[in-house]
Symmetry: C2
Subunit: 133 residues, 2 copies
DNA sequence: TTCGTTGCAAACATTTTGCAGTTTC
DNA sequence: GAAACTGCAAAATGTTTGCAACGAA
């Protein structure tokens, strides 16, 4: 429960910027690879540590696991996603509106506390369909 | 694509039974622990192999990752779930009806193929709320 | 007899952690 | 100066795999 103080960190900001600058829902490794040329003394552990940190602060969300790897999203506004089961690509699905009422309706039937929900579509992306033809 | 022939396996059936006999959405490890006393020569690798096998055959579904562990469900009928972020408990949420229209509506806007969706609620379960008081 | 299935141990891959040095405030 | 942040390497963890033996059809 106790939250420790937080200081500015150039590396955390860099991680945040990479995350905000993409809609690809990357892995920790990918973020690391993006930043490494620019910040040669960056360590993968730092990326993991900051992602977890930012997750706790609600600045980043985890949207899926694919191939055993966690996928992150710098856009914490509630929205649904599509996961391609062929290639692991993850797209935003902004056109399926996020339905907050769903949480309220679920809450009515449940004795725990419902905070939010995640809606993830699965299938095959356009690219992969094209490739397989 | 090529699917290999399949033979009967007592262990696979045992795994299936454990999975069908619980609504706790267990991990591979938990299933293994349930069966080990009854089947002393069971190996954890066999549990993993069969779970993956059954997943491919659509006999089991993966409903979530929690604490880095995959959680399985022997009930493959589409239904939503609730994950307690405190303790990792996963409940069925049958009272939030599964909405197949959602897939069709999503399909209209997407050039890939939408197969299905998963709806997962998050929050704190009743037990954990009680404990923290 | 064929080939799917298994135990076991080793291998793997991702993520976490201990520690000593660095940076922020 | 205190405490957060970091690199590095090692550790931890969940899952997969190679191989020889076993079992089903």
């Amino acid at each position: 429960m106790s939250e420790k103080a937080r200081r500015y960190s150039r590396k955390r900001e860099a991680i945040r910027e990479v995350l905000m600058g993409t809609t690809s829902h990357p892995t920790a490794e990918w973020i690391y690879a993006q930043l490494k040329p620019e910040i040669p003394d960056l360590s993968l552990a730092t990326v993991y540590r900051n992602l977890n940190d930012m997750k706790q602060f609600g600045e980043v969300q985890s949207v899926a696991f694919w191939g055993g790897k966690e996928r992150f999203d710098g856009n914490v506004k509630k929205h649904s996603h599509f996961v391609c089961e062929e290639c692991g690509r993850i797209d935003d699905f902004h056109f399926v509106p996020h339905n907050t009422e769903l949480d309220e309706s679920a809450q009515k039937h449940y004795d725990g506390r419902v905070d939010y929900h995640s809606l993830v579509f699965h299938g095959t992306c356009g690219e992969c369909i094209k490739k397989s033809q």
